[in-house]
């Protein structure tokens, strides 16, 4: 998991995934939060495959870097669940996109949609994880928020907390 909110740079140089050696047995709420993160990361990996096919060359690298970042964290979360003795839930073979993605603008909107969704799952993981594992989840939340902003979103004052977002 990235420790600074520069997802493109960090993932291409020194990716630091979620720790795979949890110091203590995760609680039920943490396991649920991890499972939600896993599902969101899988959806993001799938979604970025769509995004990459619709954006121009200038942003294809950004989409590719984000796909790699999400894939790395997907695998790390799955490993963490396995270490905790919890079988990761199987992912679907395909996903229904939230809206039609047929041009660059809608592809950017999809990227924002994906990052915002994953950010919310990491925020929930911060709340569910014990103190020792919160900072990694918080850094992932930041990375997703910054990525959403780079795709054109106005993330607002409380990224990852939909209950505090305006409107």
């Amino acid at each position: 998991m990235s420790s600074t909110p520069s997802p493109e740079t960090r993932t291409s140089t020194s990716p630091t995934p979620l720790p795979t050696t949890p110091p203590a047995q995760p609680s039920r709420s943490e396991l649920q939060a991890l499972a939600a993160v896993l599902q969101a990361e899988r959806a993001a990996v799938y979604g970025y495959g769509v995004v990459g096919g619709k954006v121009g060359r200038a942003q294809r690298q950004q989409a590719s870097s984000r796909l790699d970042w999400h894939a790395l964290n997907r695998d790390a979360v799955a490993a963490q669940l396995s270490l905790a003795g919890s079988t990761p839930p199987p992912g679907p073979a395909a996903y229904a996109l939230p809206f039609e993605v047929d041009d660059e603008a809608s592809a950017r909107s999809l990227a924002v949609h994906l990052e915002v969704g994953v950010a919310a799952c990491y925020a929930d993981l911060v709340g569910a994880a014990p103190a020792a594992r919160r900072i990694d989840a918080a850094q992932a939340l930041s990375a997703c928020a910054v990525a959403a902003q780079r795709w054109g979103a106005v993330v607002g004052a409380f990224p990852g907390l939909p209950e505090r977002s305006e409107g």
Partner: protein, 180 residues
Amino acid sequence: MPEQDEPRAPQCRPRRQVLTVTAAVVGAGVVSALAGCRVRLEQAPVVTPPPATPDEIARAKAASETDRLLGLVDDVRRLRPDAAALLGRIATEHQAHLSALRLPPSTTTPTPKPTITPTSTSTPLTKGTALAVLGNREKQAAEAVRAQLTSVSAELARLLASVAASCDCHADALTTVGAA
């Protein structure tokens, strides 16, 4: 010459007397003041507030950090009116952070002074450096807020993580605008 010495003697005695009287009056005043204190203490004993909780300390620290950022945003706005839209949004979001971090007065208890040391501002704030300086401060604030996650409740940890992410977004946006 004895004529000159004689007049001094009578002057000294009254002065000593005055001092003695003053001391007596002061002494009596202290006694009566202490007596008054004693009465007041007996009537309304001082209640020692409960020690601040880790959540209260963390909220105070984060709010203090946000306050300082808001002050810096104001300074930068004066130097960079061309970035007013971004800086206005950043200020609005920090105000929202402050509102969320400050507890209602009825539930607050005295908290110790935040121990965050002022961040180094070795780079002078000029039109050319203002956005970069603010961006660096936002990054530092994000790290400082995240560092508190290990000592707070789950609910507050979620809020602080979001505030830190917001600061990171500000830093990233300032970098982009500053580089343009």
